[in-house]
Symmetry: D2
Subunit: 331 residues, 4 copies
């Protein structure tokens, strides 16, 4: 399978390297408006580079695209790629505009192309073991889910300015997807509270950098999500699922298991720094699953509707945080 | 110091044994309307027993009372004990009626007697180490507090019937006190959601047995509390305090540290079964602190106002759970 | 039961306090050649004090003695107490002279008095849970036992001078008892290696402060014990029992469960400082078991022969460390 | 760099896959006397296959060989590869015959080819973090090292028959290398004890399947190693390094971090099953280091002398186990 990577910044190089190392995939083209950025990624893996999306999509040898551009550009790229008949791997969020997402859904369906949303956490081996344990009934009916989802840093000011309240639709959107996936239930209500805790220098936009959300699921279970953009001890990603028969905990992960004992106490190194380190295996595994789905002509495991629903929860949380009132979610 | 224990059920025997073992205290009298119950406790420690509160309070040798009766009876007993000039150790909640609590406050102040509320968790060595670490600035400004507070069982139906929504003012009241104590801040808003997850047989009253609460503190920090009446793996009591410089975690505790490795995996025994086991040391230490305060003629460490404030938060949470709306708290 | 404490230093005050707090025991007399030392302990618990062992043993109200004097004095005290008909609780080692220990055994048997050796670790709740698990067959036949037994400090020079190679018969003797107790097997061979690692100032006697021992048990299982007198991170006491069906681990213990996360990593406080803290509960429980045995007129749980056998292993280890050769143990 | 893999069984496929995935390496040829076995590995990675070592070594395009054949064949292959001028990556042990190893050393030196021994554990990220911490002086002078090194299964009877006492020179040889590498010290004495614990069916050769070794290092530090061929709970690989300033612990590792809490207790999955899973990253990293050394024309990080010394310790341990006496090691 030959791939076109669209967007060479941030997460793009991770996908490029995974495609290059995949035994049944090849990185053919990198598209980026910034040719130099595109070349840095393309050069490492023997791919060509272009600044023209149309040119890349016109190449009949390209089977699939991976969309890593800023979220606001996703809908237009999805539309173009779908019309060109390419299989689509799209980073979350699907787009920032729910109406455009709905339009994308129609276009993708009509074009009959594969569409996959990169909710990478579903592929983390521990989260997946939790998913399996819930399916096997190990905790019985889920009653409470608690997710801690804390980043070690805030995005740069320009990024924050372009995506205010991104803590909901850019960060916690992963947690909303986790909840839907783990429980198989949709939330019916959301309540959110935010705070601005970082200083003026680090967060000049005064955008929410700290948040807590309560969800009520259709089956009655209660969900708590907390998030922060300054976990100084590393990428803090935990999930606990509590039910009638017990609790499952997906714990944090660390680069090594070394423990140091000295006169001051017992010490371990900080957690993995950020998602690139924590979810390295998950990024490889989601790519494999996408490729396997396209090869087998089965629908990819994470649908456009999954992407839309997580986004709708995020927007409801944003609305709640702004209004101070709980917001009902349509089924 | 000679003590009168009022209420021989439930937590009463714990206090009785601690008084008996304390080097500077003696259990003189046990008051219980059920004479047999009183005798069971009194007999173990060489105390006398009576069914008459008035008779007990008339004994000039009694320096202090420990009130362990049902919460609804507290205000009247506090009033009588205060008028009799006894130092008062009162189990939480101070009473169920906020107006009566306010009346108690006046009476206690006028009588000039010592008054202590039994928020035992403040004396847990690990929670206290967290308190000290926050005071020393180890995490800087607290930004998020997450408390898990789960019991292994629900109270008997009669008890539940008499105290509907007790999950807030009988159970989580401890957590509300923890938040105030740890952060030194008052909450300004509370939002609560409840669920009934136990079956008809275990929870015939269909009273909330599962709850999540969000608090916003005066300083902007966000707080999450979750509670359940069926933690099948034991008494699950954890606190995490997250701030600008890091996180503190008060972890669960277990009867032993034995770990078993076999072909099925790695296993430890369940957590301590319930609060009696988990907080055994805390119950001893709160008694010692109460006695030391009375001896030194200093105000006890936990005031009637502390008891009132925690109760007010609990009632606001109950109101929110019933109305589905956030409730503002008066400063 | 009325007790006479013989030896007010070191571990004496621990036993005195436990006797005083025990519901069925009373500390009547403290014997110490240093009257001031005796008075410090006796005064706290309302006991009388004497410098004369004979005087104390002549008191018919005394039911039992607890021997906490230096080991070299034990045999003579045991003999006197046995002849006076007192039940005997003796700190380990029984004595330093195996011939005297054998003589004690005869005298105690002839006098028909209860005799208990204070191998306190048998009463630690976690070690005991391991014992129970082995008995239940959880690991099948034990194949390897690994014991780490490290102290935070070396004894004072005078003490070390009086008891050279004490690392075997004063410290590891506990581990040798643990092995016998846990496995129910006797060792048939011992090999030991020692090192002097502390500096001249801390260990002026240049007595072994670091040691490793290999035991071969009668059933073929292999045992490793390691010990040091400078665990700077606290009292490091771990046991692992490995067998055909799995492994049991008795882990270290800490004063609190607080965990601190910051930019430098994840930290916990050091372990309990020393045995007084680590085995506080075990000291209470061994006293209770001794008292219960005397009351029930059953043999105490740890016999004089247990004390003798652990000592014999320690001496064989010392011989091996000196000769550099393995030493066979008689059955 | 183009590679020839010699020996397609057992660990061969691991090295083949790592070579294939390495950005600067290519698997060109697989040599195996069993052509079908060679084809299974070669086919996956587009390599050619041959049963003739001479033919493979005659190919001038081959830069390096990876030797994964049975240990007894190593010396002859090393000699042939060295004479053919190939860089050599050799699995441990270098050979079973110390005299042949010495001959290899001369031939390799004369041929001027790179030679690397596959002590993969040196590349484990946690062991390496321990190595770095010791180098930085975090524990000061090492005083005691304790290594647990337990396999989940014994090798097949044929393999065991061909390599009696392999527990020392095939398994613990890794631990002996770890000790030398971590401490930078050579052992001066070794004492070993073995046991046969598996039943007749699993261990028909009655070869030692359980062992404990004590090493004394030149600097006086004491070392304990224990090993078993039936850790039913998975591959148990731990190291602790104790010194004057504290202790470092390289803990076990698991496939996931999921923890399950239920009425029976707290459970985690077993450890990684075996070395293939536990040291997957280490195998990749040792290959990268070998390639980097060859490219930079620097000596590989693990020398033939390292391989010889670890083997000599293993043989001394075997001698001690057989004679029951400690064995001195020449410096």
């Amino acid at each position: 399978m030959e791939f076109c990577l669209i967007g060479a910044g941030f997460i793009g190089p991770v996908h490029a390297a995974n495609i290059a190392a995949h035994p049944r995939a090849r990185l053919r083209t990198v598209v980026d408006l910034d040719r130099a950025a595109g070349e840095r990624v393309a050069g490492k893996h023997g791919a060509t580079v272009t600044t023209s999306l149309a040119e890349a999509l016109a190449d009949p040898k390209i089977d699939a695209v991976v969309i890593c551009t800023p979220p606001r550009t996703h809908a237009a790229i999805i539309e173009a790629a779908a019309r060109a008949g390419k299989a689509i791997f799209c980073e979350k969020p699907v787009d920032l505009d729910l109406a455009k997402v709905d339009a994308c859904a129609r276009i993708v369906r009509d074009a009959g192309v594969s569409f996959f949303v990169g909710f990478n956490r579903r592929y983390d081996p521990t989260h997946r073991a939790m998913f399996d344990a819930i399916r096997k009934g190990e905790i019985g009916r889920p009653e409470m889910i608690v997710l801690s989802s804390r980043d070690p840093e805030i995005s740069p000011p320009d990024y924050v300015k372009a995506m205010p309240y991104g803590i909901f639709y850019d960060t916690m959107i992963h947690d909303f997807d986790m909840v839907r996936w783990l429980t198989g239930q949709e939330p019916v209500e959301v309540y959110a509270r935010v705070a601005v805790m970082l200083d003026e220098k680090t967060n000049p936009e005064r955008d929410p950098d700290t948040a807590m959300v309560t969800l009520t699921l259709a089956g009655g279970a209660l969900v708590h999500v907390n998030s922060s953009f300054r976990a100084v001890y590393g990428y803090d990603q935990r999930i606990e699922a509590f039910g009638e028969k017990g609790m499952l905990v997906s714990r944090n992960q660390q680069p090594t298991t070394l423990v140091r004992y000295d006169a001051k106490g017992i010490r371990q190194d900080p957690l993995h720094y950020f998602f690139i380190q924590r979810y390295a295996q998950a990024y490889r595994d989601e790519l494999e699953d996408f490729i396997a789905a396209v090869e087998a002509r089965r629908p990819p495991s994470i649908s456009l509707d999954d992407g839309r629903r997580a986004l709708a929860i995020a927007y409801a949380a944003m609305e709640s945080a702004k209004s101070g009132k709980p917001v009902a979610l349509k089924p």
